[in-house]
């Protein structure tokens, strides 16, 4: 097998895994199982990033999403007593409206993607393929600390605000 074929197989495998994990996340009854399936979906998405040659985002996805955010979710699931909610109705009564809305949204976006294919608009231009991959982390770091230095600092302020907000929110008396 050529590397191209391997990358194609990897993409379709990870894509199927991501969609399957997402479907199980929103349909399964137990919240802990839901979190585990979401972790599967996020890891598969990290694999998709790898097939796109984005090694740094792949690493950040695993470390931050799976290692940080999902651990936070599982902590909260264990802090909150969910035994009562587990035996109640899991879906609200607006299911058919939600389904209809999602169907409309899906057909609209799907039509847009389908309509834009071909004639070079959405095909990867020749000569550009894989030009990004080998120096990905280097390019990423240069762009982040030169072109996007101000948004980077703002993001750190955002994280500080979120930190203070989370602490204030869970205090006994505000």
């Amino acid at each position: 097998m050529t590397p191209t074929q391997i990358s194609q197989i990897a993409f379709y495998f990870f894509a199927g895994l991501a969609v399957l994990g997402a479907i199980l996340t929103v349909t399964v009854r137990n919240v802990v199982h839901s979190a585990i399936f979401l972790i599967t979906s996020l890891l598969a998405t990290a694999g998709i990033f790898l097939t796109l040659g984005a090694q740094f985002v792949f690493a950040v996805q695993i470390i931050l999403y799976v290692g940080g955010i999902m651990v936070l979710f599982i902590f909260v699931i264990m802090l909150v007593n969910l035994d009562v909610a587990l035996h109640q109705l899991q879906f609200n009564r607006q299911g058919w409206v939600a389904g209809l809305l999602a169907l409309v949204l899906a057909s609209q976006l799907g039509f847009a993607i389908w309509f834009a294919r071909g004639e070079g608009s959405l095909d990867i231009p020749a000569g550009r393929t894989g030009a990004l991959s080998p120096q990905n982390v280097e390019q990423f770091g240069l762009a982040l600390f030169e072109k996007y230095a101000l948004p980077f600092e703002i993001a750190s302020v955002l994280l500080l605000v979120a930190l203070i907000g989370a602490v204030v929110m869970t205090k006994k008396r505000v």
Binding site: T25, V31, T45, V57, L72, I77, L79, G99, A102
Partner: protein, 100 residues
């Protein structure tokens, strides 16, 4: 070479599943997890277009979105804990203190 449309369709599928999760589930924790799914779908789009244009900017937006997701998860889960201490429930349609 995989056409970029395939990436967009995977992203679309994840986005729609996330929207359905937000709109139909009653458990607030699962609603927050569906929001994470939606943000993740957007990340796939950004990285795919970053590859498409051989430009690293899209991946930097992805990093900022992941930062936002972390902030949102921290604050959202803080709200859930505070609410659970008051009302002993995690179901979204029982959160009706502002409704009369």
């Amino acid at each position: 070479m995989i056409p970029i449309g395939h990436y967009l369709f995977v992203s679309l599928a994840l986005f729609i599943i996330g929207v359905i999760g937000v709109l139909t589930r009653r458990n607030v924790i699962i609603i927050l997890m569906s929001i994470e799914l939606i943000l993740n779908a957007v990340n796939i789009n950004l990285v795919a277009f970053s590859r498409h244009w051989a430009n690293v900017d899209g991946q930097i937006f992805t990093l900022f979105i992941i930062t936002d997701a972390a902030a949102e998860a921290a604050v959202g889960l803080g709200i859930i804990i505070a609410f659970f201490k008051n009302r002993e429930t995690v179901l979204a349609d029982e959160m009706d203190l502002l409704k009369w």
